[in-house]
Amino acid sequence: MITIKNISKAFDDRQILVGIEGKFQPGETSLIIGGSGTGKSVLLKCMIGLVKPDSGEVMYDGRNFLTSSLNDQKAIRREMGVLFQGSALFDSKSVLDNVRFPLDMLTDQPENEKMDRAIECLKRVGLEKARDSMPSEISGGMKKRVGIARAIVLNPKYLFCDEPNSGLDPLTSAKIDELIAEITEEFQITTVVITHDMNSMMEIGEKIMFLYKGKKLWEGDSASLTHSSVDELNEFINANKLIREMEK
């Protein structure tokens, strides 16, 4: 379980996050939703230690991440997998080497075990055929899947995905969502997903947190998402619906 308490962050004079609280349970896909620029990515980066919050605590199963020693932080990091917004694959490495990379850097496993594990993860995301391609040669959806394979290769307890379906067509996007939800359940991972995709919210959102201008305005499950009394949330959802109806 991940618990965040009172996370605040300002860049220069701009307050980005204000006192965010939250709990994320294992085996559950929790969503963070909200418009662009509301601080979703910054919140995620605070949780995984890429941005230092001005105040607040991030607890990983009772371990305080921000105040632990460098070695304890490394230990917690080894239990995290992160899928970045742009996939963040290493350009200079093949698909297989990207997936192997965490094993090479962070474990002392023998060569054949590392290879087996990397291929197993590539199979899990359905990409064993693309193992020798370079990241520049594969599509955006495939990159996301390689990113997921790399994120789960060390059997993480915590999985973070920043807009896993941005820039993808609805079908691919639904498949990625499904993959994340399946993996979460299969390995009882604590998964946090940032999204503003309405489909994802309805499909995989077991718990949803709505951010608006750096504040958490609402929290609940997908069933109650559409009948909240929070104006900003309703506006956000309706804007999404409107676009969908215009597309019809």
């Binding site: 980066k45 995984i48 230690g49 890429l50 460098l70 932080q73 490394k74 990091r77 080894r78 995290m80 992160v82 970045f84 917004q85 742009g86 963040a88 694959l89 290493f90 350009d91 965490p102 850097m105 962070l106």
Partner: protein
């Protein structure tokens, strides 16, 4: 001034909390190939022609019949070894290697590849940058040695072809009052320049925020700042070591 401070803080992060040595070995070899082999052609070309031009131009300026012709070769030798081969080659390398380092790191930064490393608990600055710095410090001197030879050879070919000096005069000029410290001096300068070019360029690339436009700006800044650092260091080192 605060930029300079940040640069030194950045240098500190390169050496803190490193990975195991084995990890670096392969990275250093890869960088040596890309920096060293990749730059041979341009460094060779520039230095051969600069040597040739120095020889012909010196001959053109030496009209006094009482000055022996082999002085021309001596001038080509000393200017090549002391200044042209190390400084000019490093300025060429700042343009090639420096811009390459800055744009590669800048791109990795804006596409979150640097973040991906950090999340795994890897010190991204030492993992990405230290191999480049070490490879530069190893390869620049080799390139400069080659550059010195080719400059002197270029002078020989141009001088004899243009008929301004005979092969015998050229060779005797090369041998006249030869001071071996010149080569050591050139190599000391080159090591310093290599460190400056690689770290300044890495600093510019690593601190990029934003998008493709900023990567381009960082690449330009890497080259201009490296060149300024080279000429400044050149002046200081010449004052310190040759007077």
């Amino acid at each position: 001034m605060s930029r300079l401070g940040n640069y030194f803080i950045f240098l500190g992060t390169l050496f803190r909390n490193r990975e195991k040595f084995g990890v670096y070995l392969k990275l250093i070899l890869d960088e040596c190939t890309s920096i060293g082999v990749g730059s041979i052609f341009i460094v060779a070309l520039v230095n051969t022609f600069i040597g040739a031009v120095t020889c012909v131009q010196t001959a053109y300026n030496l009209t006094n019949p009482f000055v022996p012709k082999n002085i021309i070769a001596l001038i080509v030798r000393d200017s090549s070894i002391l200044e042209l081969a190390p400084t000019l080659s490093c300025i060429v390398l700042a343009g090639k290697v420096g811009s390459n380092i800055a744009s590669e790191l800048g791109t990795m930064r804006i596409t979150e590849q640097v973040d991906a490393l950090e999340v795994m608990g890897i010190n991204s600055s030492s993992y990405l940058i230290l191999p480049k710095v070490i490879a530069s410090v190893l390869m620049f001197p080799l390139l400069v040695i080659m550059a010195g030879f080719l400059a002197i050879l270029g002078g020989y070919i141009a001088g004899t072809l243009a008929g301004v000096i005979t092969p015998e005069e050229y060779v005797s000029g090369l041998r006249f009052e030869y001071k071996p410290f010149g080569v050591a001096f050139a190599l000391i300068k080159t090591v310093v320049f290599a460190f400056l070019v690689s770290t300044i360029s890495a600093y510019q690339g690593y601190r990029v925020r934003g998008g493709a436009l900023e990567v381009g700006a960082a690449s330009t800044a890497a080259v201009t700042n490296s060149c300024i650092a080279i000429v400044a260091a050149d002046f200081v080192l010449t004052q310190m070591l040759l007077t």
